[in-house]
């Protein structure tokens, strides 16, 4: 059995007294990719945000453990330093903050030690080559004026550089053209063997490049069905209606 990284046990999550996640459990081991699919508004991003510790969401019952330790007490940045990573559905714009500076500082913050300029340059070069990114990105401001696809690519660049133990990717494939999807998948696949991965997506086509071990379907704050990659195909063909009855 491979190592357990994340265990979510029957959590209920509310925003301002509205319950959004209504009893959800999931266990993720090292090297596993779990795809989460589901209609708009079913609570996928909420789950991602809760895992990362977003202050707007309250866990009203249930528990999440990361490497066997309860996550609850950890601040957002402590989770990042403990190896958790969230690729945002809507990454923030940081005016005036240069991508290059941001990446280096972020690596240093997560690792808790200064990184030699030379080592940083080498890692960065390798990662940017892998993701086919132009060096000119480094002197631009984080996500400022980036196209939708460029923002996603920058998220994956961070994923590759930060080498997390738990990667949560929220619709990283949305808005990517066919070539970009392949390239971004290369980045994800590089991280997969060393991490547990949650991949939130609406499209089966991502799973042609990133091999999912499990596919979970979320409806109204719950996982209503789990299965293998076949499930994604079925959803693509038939939509979610056939599952509503089970929900």
């Amino acid at each position: 059995m491979s190592e357990e990284i994340l265990k979510i046990s029957n959590i209920h999550v509310s925003v301002e007294d509205t319950e959004i996640i209504k009893g959800l459990s999931l266990t993720i081991n090292k090297g596993e990719v779990h795809a989460i699919m589901g209609r708009n508004g079913s609570g996928k991003s909420t789950l991602a945000n809760v895992l990362m510790g977003h202050p707007s969401y309250q866990i009203t019952s249930g528990e999440i453990t990361y490497y066997g330790q309860p996550l609850e007490q950890l601040e957002v940045y402590e989770r990042a330093r403990a190896g958790m990573f969230l690729s945002f559905q809507y990454p923030s714009v940081l005016p005036g903050v240069k991508v290059g500076t941001f990446l280096k500082k972020s690596i240093e913050a997560v690792r808790g030690e200064p990184v030699k300029q030379k080592d940083f340059r080498n890692q960065l070069k390798a990662a940017m080559t892998l993701l086919d990114m132009d060096r000119s990105f480094l002197s631009r401001y984080v996500n400022d004026g980036f196209s939708g696809g460029e923002k996603k690519r920058l998220e994956i660049l961070q994923l590759v550089l930060l080498q997390p133990s738990l990667a949560i990717l929220d619709e990283t494939d949305s808005g990517l053209d066919i070539d970009a999807l392949k390239i971004v998948s290369k980045g994800i696949n590089q991280v997969v063997p060393h991490a547990g991965c949650i991949v939130i997506t609406h499209y089966q086509r991502l799973l042609e490049h990133v091999k999912a071990d499990y596919v979970h379907v979320m409806i109204d704050g719950k996982v209503v069905k789990s299965g293998g990659p076949d499930l994604a195909h079925k959803l693509e063909e038939q939509g979610y209606d056939w599952l509503e009855a089970n929900a």
Binding site: Y77, F85, L86, P91, S92, L94
Partner: protein, 475 residues
């Protein structure tokens, strides 16, 4: 620690805050005038400097204007009207002469300029420096290659002694003593500052720098700077300043006059980081002649109250004005700053970027003036004013004034007031940054249009400074 000791140290901390330059040296002045201001004090300052009579006359005239002139009614009248001019020291000489070798400067003063980072910068990338300590320069250096090209860079007292004809011709021509009460005060009691002359066609590649340090308690520092860039020349002048933290008020009231002759370029960068007990009331103005460029790159990070509106008169056709200013108003600070650009000639352009941050009850005010004269055709101007509020106790106001005298002007004006968004903080924290580090990055980013105009080392220093200011009260 006893309770009293704790409360005392808390008080000291409140006073000093996160300010790292609040230390002071023992007052070992050679000459220190009694506190208070009178015609006699003004005459004594002139006498002790052996000035020509015409300068004494200018001072005395300005003194009387100061006495009669009313206080400005904007900014912070409460603070201005409570200044006790009798409690200020108007002249303090720390050493017997300005030295050109640090070895000859008293050790504690050397150490002070070490701690503020000036000596390191001198050795690496500056073309020359002047270090002023209270009323006068204690150290001065200039690279030989600049001197041999005829560049003059002196403290103002030496400038007057060595180049009286130039000083007489231009002193007070850009900022007359009657401009405002504090310009009158400065003209009456000025001491130190820089005198710079760049000959025709000479490009000074390395910046030259003046550093103004207040050391003594109750000090008034009144430096006077005059920069003349002759036709087709260019220079980048940088000033920095810090002061000890005392519980009593110190006054800094400078006058800076710039003249960019035809085709010349002057960039004047300021990193103002006074302690909070300093009132910083400064008049800065430039004349830009034909096809010249004047740039004020102005930061106000320190002081309890700053009132400063760098101005540029575009007098010559085709001249260009650039003002990039940032202000940080933290606890107990009011930054009342801005920019004034007067388009007096045709085909002139200006660009004003102002950025301010308010935090912990701090107050920032932008006061701007853009004027286009009726005969100044085809002028272009762009003004961008952004304010960032880090909490809801703080305050930010914008007072832009425009007087547009003809319809051929192409004007753009943008203003915004924003708050740091929770999403930005969450994003940064998910990348391993603590809340304070995240705020620091956002603030550094907000000021980036300013810092990118600074030499790299100073940009780094500026960001560190801001991060230190951000420490403490978050979380």
């Amino acid at each position: 620690m006893s309770d009293e000791a704790i409360s005392e140290s808390n008080e000291a901390r409140d006073l000093v805050g996160e300010y790292q330059f609040g230390f002071h040296d023992e007052d070992k002045s050679v000459i220190r005038f009694n506190n208070g201001l009178s015609e006699q004090i003004v005459r004594d300052i002139s006498a002790i400097k052996n000035e020509p009579e015409w300068m004494t006359d200018i001072r005395v005239k300005a003194y009387h204007h100061f006495v009669e002139r009313e206080m400005p009614k904007w900014g912070s009248p409460e603070i201005l009207n409570n200044i006790d001019f009798e409690a200020i020291t108007y002249f303090l000489r720390s050493t017997d002469a300005t030295k050109d070798d640090w070895k000859d400067v008293p050790e504690d003063i050397q150490n002070t300029f070490d701690k503020v980072g000036l000596r390191e910068a001198e050795g690496t990338w500056l073309g020359g420096i002047t270090a002023q300590y209270d009323s006068e320069a204690v150290y001065h250096s200039i690279r030989e290659d600049l001197e041999s090209q005829g560049v003059i860079f002196l403290d103002m007292d030496s400038g007057l002694r060595e180049h009286p004809e130039l000083v007489k011709k231009y002193f007070g021509k850009v900022v007359p003593h009657s401009d405002n009460k504090f310009a009158a005060l400065n003209t009456a009691v000025w001491s130190g500052g820089s005198f710079v002359y760049i000959p025709k066609g000479v490009h000074v590649e390395m910046p030259i720098q003046a550093y103004f340090r207040i050391n003594a308690e109750n000090m008034g520092q009144f430096e006077r700077t005059l920069i003349l860039a002759d036709e087709g020349s260019s220079v980048h002048y940088i000033e920095g300043c810090t002061a000890p933290s005392y519980s009593s008020t110190a006054l800094h009231s400078a006058v800076v006059e710039l003249i960019a002759m035809d085709g010349a370029k002057i960039r004047y960068s300021t990193i103002q980081n006074w302690s909070n007990n300093v009132l910083n009331l400064v008049t800065k103005r430039a004349h830009a002649m034909k096809n010249s460029t004047v740039e004020w790159i102005d930061s106000n990070i320190g002081s309890g109250l700053t009132m400063k509106y760098p101005a540029i008169l575009l007098k010559g056709e085709g001249s260009h004005a650039e003002v990039v200013s940032v202000a940080y108003a933290g606890k107990g600070q009011h930054q009342d700053t801005g920019a004034k650009v007067h388009h007096l000639a045709a085909n002139t352009t200006s660009n004003i970027i102002s950025k301010s941050i308010s935090k912990d009850g701090g107050r920032s005010t932008y006061r701007g003036m853009l004027q286009v004269m009726p005969k100044a055709h085809n002028c272009r101007s762009k003004i961008v004013c952004d304010a960032l509020m880090l909490d809801s106790d703080s305050r930010s106001d914008t007072y832009p004034t425009m007087e547009i005298g003809n319809s051929s002007a192409d004007l753009e004006h943008e203003a915004s007031v924003s708050k740091v968004s929770g999403d930005q903080l969450f994003y940064l924290m998910s990348r391993g940054f603590s809340e304070q580090e995240a705020m620091g990055l956002i603030v550094n980013g907000f000021f980036e249009p300013f810092t990118r105009e600074l030499p790299a080392d100073y940009a780094v220093e500026m960001n560190k400074l801001l991060n230190i200011k951000m420490e403490g009260s978050i979380g």
